[in-house]
């Protein structure tokens, strides 16, 4: 299978400190791979190693079949980077900034690409204005335009919506989704768990080393550790019904009070039987709602488990 990104036992030390330890993962072409982790977990260091900015202490990586450590210039031709800080020459116009960066890529029509992406990112009308006067959201959009100028196969986005207002962040997320739809591989480092859940095909949780890597739904399932919880709204509170439910063989525990009960299953596969069993015990069910772990719960569990271990 063709992988756009392959990392194999990637490790990076800074003196005695280990920033990234034995990281192995792959990302397929056209996939959005989310990278979650607390500050200092090694997300940016990983991006820098994969983008050929710094070399790994040990291990290896391939981006579009190119080794970033030995052929950084070749990797730079096929990747786009949106760094944590946009980084523009404030005294130059948006267009001049992009023309400068476009000028380093061989075989592209810089003028055409700059116009196209300024238009696509909604900045064409302000192309002649100095970047120093741009808002953070505009700079971030300009930064995304810069990352796309040479039509890279792989995009590294480091906290792309950090510090943006909700509207701009939403627009940017839509754009990122569109980029995936046209087949680009996106490596998305983020603190925003809703963003990761909404955008990413798979999510990696990192805390120096890889803690977990799976689809958001699979990670949520793991968080329930094989169990499941259902909230039941009864028509009337009935202690006999409550006792009957707690005696059911597939129920681990029961919580809540009055008409509202929280049922924790020891055998989640028995969930479809619960409504019929309540009815048989004389209760009337108004509503049943399965409680799902959010990615935030998953993330916090994983990181706390890692801390404890």
């Amino acid at each position: 299978m063709h992988h756009a990104i392959q990392a194999s036992h990637l490790t990076r030390r800074f003196g005695e400190r280990i920033a990234v330890n034995d990281l192995s993962f792959t990302a397929s072409a056209g996939e959005i791979l989310g990278f979650l982790g607390p500050n200092g977990a090694g997300k940016t260091t990983t991006i820098r190693m994969l983008s050929g900015m710094i070399a790994p202490t040990s291990g290896s990586a391939k981006v579009v079949e190119i080794d970033p450590a030995s052929q950084p210039a070749n990797v730079h031709a096929v990747i786009g980077l949106l760094p944590e800080s946009p980084g523009f020459y404030g005294q130059l116009s948006a267009e001049r900034n992009l023309r400068y960066f476009a000028g380093f890529y061989p075989g592209i029509d810089g003028k055409r690409q700059v116009e196209m992406y300024l238009d696509r990112l909604g900045l064409l009308e302000r192309k002649n204005e100095r970047v120093a006067g741009f808002s953070k959201g505009m700079k971030q959009r300009l930064s995304l335009a810069r990352a796309l100028l040479h039509e890279p196969a792989v995009l590294f986005l480091d906290e792309p919506t950090s510090g943006l207002d909700p509207e701009v962040a939403h627009e940017l997320r839509i754009l990122i989704g569109e980029l995936r739809d046209v087949g680009r591989t996106i490596f998305l480092s983020t603190h925003n768990l809703n963003e990761a859940e909404g955008l990413c095909d798979r999510v990696a949780v990192i805390r120096t080393s890889l803690v977990a890597l799976d689809t958001p739904s699979a990670l949520r399932s793991q968080a329930t550790r094989g169990g499941a919880t259902v909230t039941v709204q009864l028509e009337t509170a009935d202690s006999d019904v409550r006792e009957a439910i707690s005696a059911l063989p597939y129920v681990a525990s029961i919580g809540g009070s009055g008409e509202q009960l929280t049922v924790v299953f020891s055998d989640p596969s028995a969930r479809p039987r619960l409504a019929a069993d309540i009815l048989a015990a004389g209760g009337n069910v108004l509503e049943m709602l399965e409680q799902r772990a959010s990615l935030e719960d998953v993330y916090l569990n994983l990181v706390q488990d890692e801390e404890r271990s």
Partner: protein, 265 residues
């Protein structure tokens, strides 16, 4: 056009766009050389006008320059002063290259443009070369314009007869060969200073060390401790070029991607 040349031209063009967008930079580029040239002309005029020329100076000049053997003591003094300009003017490439290199690199650090820049296919040596040329070309051009303006001022003040005698091989070697060496060295020291400093002033404070050898050169020439011949001036220029080459190696190591990303703060 090869890829490297295209990328170097791209860096050069951007640097000059930034330079031309700053009124302060343009003013500095124009005013500073004019000030240095004007100061030199004024000093010559004032000294020749108010300081009595001693016989010792006239004797020295008459013995060293056959063409000036019949000149008055005042004209001999003027010749001696005009001859100091070749070293005095080296302040121009030193200052301009240093100011532009430190501004250019420290600004990249402050605005955090180095990371996206280093994520492009530009190679370190192309980036350093582009930046070096962007500072060294105006520095050397300003120096030569200063030299031209100085000669023009000599003619304008009616001292044109000094020019053919003053502009000897030593004078020309220092302006044509030593000035570019000083510009390159100054730029490189600016890079080294910038890699360690958090702001432009800090970088300039570190790289100001370049002025020590220039001051030594001036003192040696003005006091007459060393009478610079074309050979000695050529050796000084070669020494500066060698020093610059050594410093370039240091600068390229400091300017490596990993150093910038990991160590530059």
């Amino acid at each position: 056009m090869s890829g490297s040349v295209r990328r170097i031209r791209n860096v050069l063009s951007k640097e000059w766009s930034v330079m031309s967008s700053s009124f302060g930079s343009l003013l500095y580029l124009v005013l500073f050389p004019l000030l240095i040239t004007g100061q030199a002309v004024l000093i010559i005029w004032l000294v020749a006008r108010f300081v009595p020329a001693g016989d010792a100076i006239a004797t020295l000049v008459h013995s060293e320059e056959a063409a000036a053997a019949s000149w008055s003591a005042v004209d001999a003094l003027r010749l001696l002063l005009v001859r100091q300009f070749n070293v005095f003017v080296l302040i121009v490439p030193a200052m301009i290259a240093n100011v532009f290199s430190t501004q250019s690199i420290v600004e990249e650090k402050i605005t955090q443009t180095l990371e996206p820049l280093l994520a492009t296919p530009v190679r370190t040596w192309e980036l350093v070369t582009g930046k070096a040329l962007s500072g060294a070309v105006p520095a050397v051009a300003s120096t030569w314009l200063c030299a031209g303006a100085f000669i023009g001022a000599l003619y304008g003040l009616g001292w044109g007869f000094l020019v053919p005698v003053a502009l000897n091989a030593t004078w020309l070697i220092s302006v044509i060969a030593l000035a570019p060496a000083v510009a390159v060295l100054s730029f490189v020291l600016g890079v080294i200073g910038s890699s360690r400093a958090a702001d432009t002033k800090g970088a300039q404070n570190i790289s100001v060390v370049l002025f020590l050898p220039l001051i030594v050169l001036m003192v040696l020439q003005v006091t007459g401790l060393v009478w610079f011949t074309p050979a000695t001036m050529g050796a000084v220029a070669a020494g500066f070029f060698l020093l610059a080459a050594g410093m370039v190696c240091v600068a390229v190591r400091l300017f490596a991607r990993e150093s910038i990303i990991v160590r530059w703060r």
